[in-house]
Each structure stands twice: as C-alpha cells, then as structure tokens.
Amino acid sequence: MLSLEHVTKRFGGLTAVRDVTLEVRAGDLLGVIGPNGAGKTTLFNLIGGYYRPDEGRIVFEERDVTGQPAHAIAMLGLTRTFQIVKPFGSLSVLDNVMIGALTRRASTRQARADAERVIDLCGLGPHAAARARALPLALRKRLEVARALATQPKLLLLDEVMAGLNPTELAGMVELVRRLHAEGLTLIVIEHIMAAMMRLAQRIVMLHHGEKIAEGTPREIASDRRVIDAYLGEEFVLAEA
C-alpha cells in the first residue's frame, strides 16, 4: 500500500532521515519507535507531504507521491495526526470533525451525520458541543484522531496519540486503535510507550539517528541487541522477562 524507497531528508548538515526503505501492506499496523530526535516525526512529515525528501521515492497505492502537497496526499486517503495536537481551537468538537468529513462530502448535512458517527466512535459524544480549545489533553488527542478518521483514510499515521495520557485514558486509546485496525484500517503508529506498542503492533520499525536499524515483530524487536542498546535498555528486557 505504501512504500518508501531509500528516502533521505537533510536539514543543513543534519541528516534527519537517512536512506529509509519501508513497506506497509494493506491491513498492517506498523509501529515506529526510536529515541527522541531519531527522525520519527520527520518520517511522518515526509510521508504526509509536509517535507519533500532530498532523495528517494514515496509510493502510495502504486502512485508516486514524492513531493506532492499535503492536501493532495490526504485526498488520496493518506492522512496523519500531529504529535503536538492542532485542534481548530475556537470551533466546537463537532465543527472540527465536520471539517474533516467535508473532505469527502459535498453537503454540510451529510458531513454532520458522518461527523456525529465518528465522534461517537471516538467516545467524544458528550463533548460534541464543547470548544476544542477547552478540552483536556486526552480528549484533544481523541479529537485529533476523530478529525483524521472523518476524512475516511485508507492509511492513517498516528503520531504519539498516547503520550501524556493516564493509565485509564491510555487503555481507552489502545482500545480505539485496536478497533480501527480490526475494522480494516491500515495504520502506522509512532509511540514511546513500549507496553502499548508491544500489544498493538504487528511489526515494529526502529529508527536511530535517522536510520532504520531494526525491523521485525514486537518479540524480535524486544530481543534485538541494537534496539536494547540504543533505546530500550537492559531494565526493559528484564521487566518483560
């Protein structure tokens, strides 16, 4: 469904993403892990059309989308959420999600019906009339997901939608992601919370200094020497065992 071929992105002297090759098949739930500054969000910005890669090719559903603008890529059915949430602050939750739904709908009436459905799915029902800016973080993260879902994506990129949540909220978000995946959505998920990642992802890719240093099932990743050294640490391995 999505393939990255030798994608590289440099910012001046810094190479944020170096020669990354990646394959995502329909129905996948791919996890991306790595220490801060490893290039995870840069990778999303490249896939989503926010940055143009210096080298390499990005192909989505047999279509070369390298260097295409973000809105055109979103129209093809590939959308993303933002690590630092970007709600339409002064609008209501319903309006936020409606704007997403209007991507596929010509009439506001249909879009509102779509939005209400997505809002319920994401557990935002009681907050539909609230101003987005007034929501607590956990709900703003959900709103971020809801708005993206309303565009009816085929591939959804989630950038740390679980960061900063308490255990209950975290469980709810894991449940939501799992449900979306079960309903047939393909996802790439960036997350630091390994416990969640181990349970959710089918495959995990590890980035370090912009390079892909490991790829495999959660079990393989957790026992990979390079991953342990660069990211997880010995304590994690002991705790898991």
């Binding site: 809105h71 055109a72 959308t79 709600p87 339409f88 602050g89 704007i99 709908r105 010509a106 506001t108």
Partner: protein, 325 residues
C-alpha cells in the same frame, strides 16, 4: 447555535429599521448618516471575509477601495463611461490585485502580511498622487454627476436603498460563509493551516480565493462611495486611516461574525458623525477630538467586550436566561 440565532434576529431588526427609516425621514443629513453607516458596515464586512473568516488581517484594504473609487472617476472623466463600467473595471483590477496580495499571504504570515498590505496601498497612493496627466495628481478628481440610475446620480432615498441592498448582500455572503462547505473549510485554514492540509484542504487556494473576493467587494463599495461623495482625493481613498477603519469596525463589532461589522459601523460612524458635527464648529482646535473619543471607545471595547459587540448580545442573552431560571 442559540448565539447564532440571536445574531440573525439582530440582523433582521437592524436591516428592517434601516429599510423603514427612509420612508419617514426626509432629512438629508440623517439619510446621509444612514448611507454611511451601511456603506462602512458593508466595507467592513468585505474586509471581514479576509480578516475575520480567512484570518488574513489586512491593513491595506484602502488600496482596493481606492481602485474602485478611481476606476469610476477615471472612466467617467477620461473615457465618458458610466459608473457601472467603472465599477466593473475597478472590481476586475481589484480581483487581480487581490489575487496577488492573497498569493503573498502564502509567503508572509501575520504581521508581515499586514505590513505588506500597507505597503501596497501606499504604493497606489504614490501612483495616484503623482501621475498628474492621468489621475490629476494630489488635487484629486471630481466625479461627474449625471442624474439617473444608469449613471448613479441618485437622490438621498434611492442611495439609502441601494446601499441597503449592498449591505444585505454582503451580510448574506458572510452568513453563507458560516454555513457552507467552503466556509467550514476556510475556518479550518484560519484555525490551523497544517491541520487543514492534513484533512485534504488546499489551504493556499482557499486563502487566495477569500482575499480576492474580499478585494473585489471592497472595490465595488469604493465605486459607490465615489459616486455618492462626488470627489476622489488620493490622500483619503488610499489612506491607512481608511484601512484601519475597515478593520476596526469589524474588530469592535465582532471579528469573524456576520453582524459584527455592521454593529461596529453603527457605533463608530454615528459617533464620528455626531462628534464632528457638534465639536468641529466650537473651536478649530477641537477638529481632531473625535479621534480621541474613537480611541477611548476602542479601549473600552477591548477591555470589556474583547469578542466584540456581537458577543455582547450573546452575553446579555445568557444573563437573561439565567435570570429567568
């Protein structure tokens, strides 16, 4: 939702009163004020499309006003064309200029965009005030008055109704922006451009469309103003004062609301007209005093109703409902 309904009723009352006034009032001075209130309101509504709904705050909209005013004056004086032709020429020129400024808004953000719009209006001021052979330079240009609707030489009552129709139209465009697909998506662009793009919204194109439409609508009012007043002075029509007035009416009335620009215009225009009439005659030293009052009103509004006068109606309503309960 209830807040929006309250504002729709407010608009109905406001335009209804404006429609009734010319039937009973024949006082030229009063009708003049009514025309100005509606015209400045419509101009702020035009500004609001870019500054309020699209979030592209311009302090150079006098440029488009001036283009509209000069187009009709020049078409009338130099080419003996009807004001309607002048209005069309002005609107087309403003479409082009608006598209250029709109394109600029994709390169320059916030204050830099605002500054570039001022620069643009100042460039036009220099052209208009120096190009003596064509624009008559800094002396200004009288607009030929020929009675009749085809030549926009109208009586006071006809003016009042013509401007009322324009005001209603501009108000309607804003209402449409609050309910249409385009308007919703534009709101997304205003709130967060990156997020809007992630939802498939071509944010740059939407901004250019909004700024371009705003420019053309401003130009049309510029033409009407020139026909009504009968004289085009480059230092007035391209002034920063005028650009600020468009923005200020909308900000005081409620930025990004359909009724706001008109509420702001009612307060500011009537206040200004009243103060000018009562104070300027007293002593020549008082001529600028309305500016001080202007400033005080602005401070009071920003301090006590930062969301604008249209927010006040919502708040009063909320208090009333609470008192009932």
């Amino acid at each position: 939702m209830r807040a929006i309904l309250a504002q729709r009723w407010g608009a109905l009352v406001l335009f209804g009163v404006a429609a009734v006034i010319p039937i009973f009032v024949r006082d030229a001075y009063f009708l003049d004020t009514l025309v100005l209130v509606l015209l400045w309101g419509a101009l702020s509504a035009a500004w609001n499309i870019a500054g309020g709904y699209a979030g592209q705050v311009s302090i150079g909209h006098a440029a488009f006003f001036g283009i509209g005013a000069y187009s009709t004056a020049l078409m009338g004086v130099r080419f003996q064309q009807s004001p309607w032709v002048g209005m069309l020429v002005g609107a087309l020129l403003s479409l082009a200029a608006g598209a250029a400024i709109g394109y600029l808004s994709n390169r320059l953000k916030g204050p830099y965009f605002a500054l570039s719009t001022i620069a643009f209006s100042q460039v036009l001021l220099i052209v208009a005030s120096r190009w003596r052979a064509f624009t008559a330079g800094s002396e200004g240009l009288p607009v030929p008055f020929r009675p009749g609707f085809g030549t926009l030489g109208l009586g006071d009552v006809a003016w009042a109704y013509l401007i009322l129709v324009v005001a209603l139209l501009y108000w309607g465009i804003q209402v449409w922006l609050e309910h249409s697909r385009f308007g919703y998506r534009l709101a997304g662009v205003r709130e967060d451009e990156d997020a809007a793009q992630a939802l498939g919204i071509p944010s740059r194109r939407l901004k250019v469309i909004a700024v371009t439409a705003s420019a053309a609508l401003t130009s049309v009012c510029g033409t009407l103003w020139a026909q009504k007043v009968g004289f085009v002075d480059p230092f007035y029509v391209f002034s920063v004062d005028l650009s600020v007035r468009f923005a200020l009416n909308a900000i005081i009335g409620g930025i990004g609301t359909a009724l706001g620009p008109f509420l702001g215009s009612i307060l500011i225009t009537s206040l200004e007209t009243y103060l000018r009439a009562t104070l300027s005659g007293v002593k020549s030293g008082f001529t600028g005093i309305y500016l001080i009052v202007y400033g005080i009103v602005l401070i009071l509004v920003v301090r006590f109703v930062p969301e604008g006068l249209s927010g006040l109606t919502t708040r009063l309503r909320a208090r009333w409902t609470r008192a009932q309960a």
